[in-house]
């Protein structure tokens, strides 16, 4: 289970652009490195990351091996309604994980 640190402001005014920061614990193994046995270390990366909020996908990213280990994203979204922001990410083996954070909009 990969852990993720998610930073979402607890409260926001309606219509305000809030900054969301996400840090996911993941090796992002490129598949280009050789291990001690001289063989290539198999690729293990997150391929897609998305943030769903108030019934719509507000942000998504397609990741390639050139994203640093423990991928970090900071992006903005307009505060529209109180509720959870759902973060989902899928690795190249198809394993999906998700985590959510709540925001209170006034």
């Amino acid at each position: 289970m990969a852990r993720a640190l998610i930073n979402v402001p607890a409260t926001a005014k309606k219509g305000e652009a809030v900054e969301i920061k996400v840090l996911i614990q993941h090796p992002m193994e490129t598949g280009f490195r050789t291990g001690p046995d001289g063989k290539l270390v198999p690729r293990d990366i997150i391929q897609r990351f998305s943030c769903t909020y108030d019934g719509q996908e507000v942000f998504a990213a397609e990741l390639h091996p050139a994203v640093a280990a423990n991928p970090f994203f900071a992006f903005f979204t307009l505060a529209t309604a109180s509720g959870p922001l759902i973060f989902k990410w899928t690795d190249n083996a198809g394993k999906e994980e998700s985590q959510s954070a709540d925001i209170a909009v006034t």
């Binding site: 305000e16 652009a17 809030v18 490129t30 280009f32 490195r33 050789t34 291990g35 001690p36 270390v41 909020y53 108030d54 719509q56 996908e57 507000v58 942000f59 998504a60 990213a61 397609e62 990741l63 390639h64 091996p65 050139a66 994203v67 640093a68 280990a69 991928p71 970090f72 994203f73 900071a74 992006f75 903005f76 979204t77 307009l78 529209t80």
Partner: protein, 150 residues
């Protein structure tokens, strides 16, 4: 005891080691052009509107902070649909592609990337009217990513 002679010999061995380092897999201008064409679908890319914030002198290519901002009001009629980052001298030219919506509010995105060599980073943004805008950043990387052995 380490003498100056030992240090010199060590330094010489290191230099030879660096020269004998196997050639790394690299993206070529052709694969780069193909990756860009896959994103823009062959449409014309105009310079401007995009700003890249990245240190020009990168000490460690394994984790380079990158912030991309696009000059856009981010309204329903005029917003940024996608932002793609390309690096010509990485093993693969694609770095990361972001999808944005009018609900993003601000077209500003940050992440951390790997850089395999000193190179020019290319960022292309697709606006809602279908036009593409680009910006380049020239970088010097002192310790590239992907060279360390486990």
């Amino acid at each position: 005891m380490t003498t100056r002679r030992h240090t010199l010999i060590g330094g010489g061995a290191l230099a030879v080691g660096l020269l004998l380092r196997p050639a790394l897999a690299r993206a070529t201008p052709e694969t780069m052009a193909a990756a860009v064409a896959a994103f823009t679908k062959g449409l014309q890319v105009k310079p401007g509107k995009v700003a890249i914030d990245i240190p020009p002198l990168v000490e460690n290519g394994n984790s380079v902070p990158l912030t991309v901002s696009v000059d856009s009001p981010m309204t329903e009629l005029d917003h940024v649909n996608a932002i793609a980052v390309f690096a010509e001298k990485n093993p693969l030219p694609n770095v990361v592609t972001f999808a944005l919506t009018p609900r993003s509010g601000k077209a500003v995105v940050s992440t951390r990337i790997r850089l395999g060599d000193s190179q020019i980073l290319l960022v292309i943004a697709q606006l809602s009217d279908g036009s593409f805008w680009s910006q380049k950043a020239e970088l010097i990387v002192t310790l590239p990513a992907c060279v360390e052995v486990l």
